[in-house]
Symmetry: none
Subunit: 449 residues, 2 copies
């Protein structure tokens, strides 16, 4: 038997193809296959249409020795996967007696009786085998589509149910044990996360490291102010060698990027900031205007955040900037609510109100309205205040403040997401005790005033 | 010119094909195309590989008169869409001077200078036109791929940037005006949003309305505590007839569902609550523990929320429940931070601290740790406090409080999202002045104590 070196993924369903449902199955399968060292050649999705399904099954089978399909196994008239597989493999449909018994028992256990539509789910192409469904009614299918090339091994096709819980359970229980990834062909991957450099500058710094034919292959993805560097190497000579190559590249990247590189793998910026604070026995508070709670929500999405996140103030209206954070109304009148002065006063007021060691304050214009020529939509002032002497707090404790003005791009959501992450980046850089050279952070406009 | 009767959608990106990133663009484009009456024939996604891109562009162009592609327009070497389109159309790459000037100005406005990699983004196939990017650097592309069939009109190809905000803005501004949907081929759809009924109960109430062969077709999707009923009818005989049929169904559904039906179309629960408050000249404040800012973030995601959202308190630690919301520490000691008593005190304290007319307080156990047999993970107490007499505020004003205990299912994120939306639902039902009969809201455990 040949190895499953690469694979295609196929989804079927009108609800996917009309945009009603987001296809999360293909992503799950892609992650799983990638981690097994099986490269993905193509994703496809087609409507619930017999001709389209048969054509696409055959086309994808000619592209890879493994084809994983999801959807179309339910009891409705729109569920055509069984029929399409029968046509594509040139077989008739037969009832699988074991599957029928299982289906009858499953329904009986829920006080229901079999109807004609449900019985369709026990049909299979005569040469296919059924895969048991531990959490639903529809069994999966496994078959082979012969290669048109004589002597070639053909393609293993696995058809899985569309509901994600049924798909993942059947994948792990029935499909993974039947896969034949090439034993020596490990794909080693590593993710490194970077903040505070624009994507184009990062790419320039990396230079020849990003050549498309380089091994390991290095790529960059940007998401809401955080850049992720992906290292990837198909390790045909064994995983130890691949890991060594990735280690060497990671060391080079750390050298090049310094403290801009804040994490690896599943690390996130909120988690890194929270765990650093926890190790230092320090707490963080937030004072949010234009982000309106988004920064707090990002921090508290991390399990265990209560060890270092104290809480904060949502000072959305000017009145609450004064009532809750003690910002002098004269300061707002003189400089506007979106100003370095007000951001600093919000942060200092947040420290005082909460007794935390650090406070991040965000005030800006998220749009779509409210911009002006001097302060266009996307203008955001962020201040980080911290107790200069550890162990002291209260109105007389010495407080340091770093404040910056940014101009973020994108729509309201982008601006808010970037503002929240940039606030975290300011805390991160200060925590690591390195001076903030200019220009240090993405989209920064001016030096502090 | 022929009509754009059907279309294919293509995504490119190693991060999609390896499962690192979920492809939400294809779904957005599919929804948009479907609403214009353009059928989707196929989705495909391929790696950042020139041969695969060229092959797939040509293959999909032969399947439909319209092809929408996303991704691969950034500044890195892995961004190959321009090159692939040039090869697929048999053209050379040239620099688009207008795009280059725009790019230079965009960077200059942010205090940055152009580098060689960024300049790549102004390249286009010689016969293509650039589509302006209002919110980012990479312009889109529009070109035609000729049909191999003589006399056939060929395929319009639109290449859009991968970041969703850039894609949707370019889609609406530049692509939609150039589309030629068939005028008589309308698909009429309607969305109705429901809160406070479990999905299975809703399906039972709808009964025969949900038959798969019914016209209009009615379906239900559940998301984070809100149910959406989708009505859909292909109106080959004209849109007026279809709209009449949808109107009749909507009237039936309103009769069946009463005030559980809170909105239609693009309405969201936060937007409906905010606009109702605005019309009444009332304001809302939030006091969040386990949701940590998520409710505030949901409200302030709505443009114009400042008209009725005042701000709030993130009382994540017990200390801040007392410092910021004035909750008596003895109450926390006696009943626990997750209790009806503490939720009520938080909400009343929030009214007092902010001067708002309404305050919603949320305290619960989002997990994965912190549960107990008496209060398992998912236990959340939510209180809504409001000033009983309009026009009065301050510590002596009469305050009414409604408090409920819930048990939400799912992971940390699910529990927090459902808690935030249930808090909004409590305000929504109270605003509409109807008594809250039991059991009114999803997952509710007990009557108030």
């Amino acid at each position: 038997m040949s190895f499953h070196t690469h694979a295609c993924i196929l989804s079927t369903g009108d609800e996917i193809i009309t945009g009603q449902l987001l296809d999360t199955n293909s992503r799950y399968l892609a992650e799983q296959l990638t981690s097994l060292g099986i490269s993905i050649v193509e994703f496809a999705a087609v409507p619930d249409d017999l001709d389209a399904l048969v054509h696409t099954l055959r086309r994808l089978a000619s592209r890879a020795p493994l084809l994983i399909m999801s959807g179309g196994l339910g009891p409705t008239e729109g569920d055509l996967t069984r029929h399409a597989l029968a046509v594509a493999t040139g077989q008739g449909l037969v009832t699988d007696e074991a599957a029928l018994r299982h289906l009858t028992a499953w329904l009986a256990g829920r006080g229901r009786t079999m109807n004609e539509r449900q019985a369709r789910q026990a049909l299979r192409p005569s040469g296919a085998t059924c895969l048991p469904n531990a959490v639903g009614t529809a069994p999966g299918l496994h078959s082979r589509i012969d290669s048109p090339t004589p002597g070639s091994a053909g393609t293993d096709v696995f058809c899985l149910p569309g509901p994600p819980g049924e798909l993942s359970s059947m994948w792990l229980a029935s499909v993974v044990p039947m896969l034949r990834p090439e034993p020596s062909r490990v794909v080693a991957t590593r993710l490194l996360h970077v903040v505070g450099i624009p994507e184009a500058d990062l790419v320039t710094r990396l230079g020849p490291l990003m050549k498309r034919d380089r091994v390991p292959l290095i790529g960059v993805t940007a998401s809401q102010g955080v850049l992720t560097i992906r290292l990837r190497m198909a390790a045909s000579t064994g995983s130890a060698q691949a890991e060594q190559a990735l280690d060497a590249d990671e060391a080079t990247l750390r050298e090049l990027l310094g403290d801009h590189l804040f994490g690896r793998g599943q690390d996130t910026l909120p988690a890194v900031v929270l765990s650093t604070l926890r190790d230092r026995h320090e707490t963080l508070a937030t004072v949010e205007s234009c982000t309106g709670g988004l920064l707090g929500a990002l921090l508290t999405a991390i399990p265990g955040s209560s060890a270092s996140f104290a809480g904060g103030l949502l000072t959305y209206s000017n009145d609450l900037k004064t009532r809750l954070a003690g910002v002098d109304p004269a300061l707002i009148a003189a400089h506007g609510a979106v100003s370095e002065h007000v951001a600093s006063a919000m942060a200092a007021g947040g420290l005082h109100a909460t007794g935390a060691h650090h406070a991040v304050a965000i005030t800006g214009i998220a749009g779509p309205d409210g911009g002006s020529p001097a302060k266009p939509v996307g203008t955001v002032c962020i201040a980080h205040a911290w107790q200069s002497k550890s162990g002291t707090s209260g109105p007389t404790a010495p407080v340091s403040v770093d404040v910056r003005r940014f101009r973020f791009t994108g729509d309201r959501d982008d601006i808010r997401q970037r503002a929240a992450r940039t606030g975290l980046a300011m805390v991160y850089f200060q925590l690591f005790g390195r001076p903030l050279s200019e220009p240090r952070l993405l989209w920064q406009l001016d030096a502090p005033k």
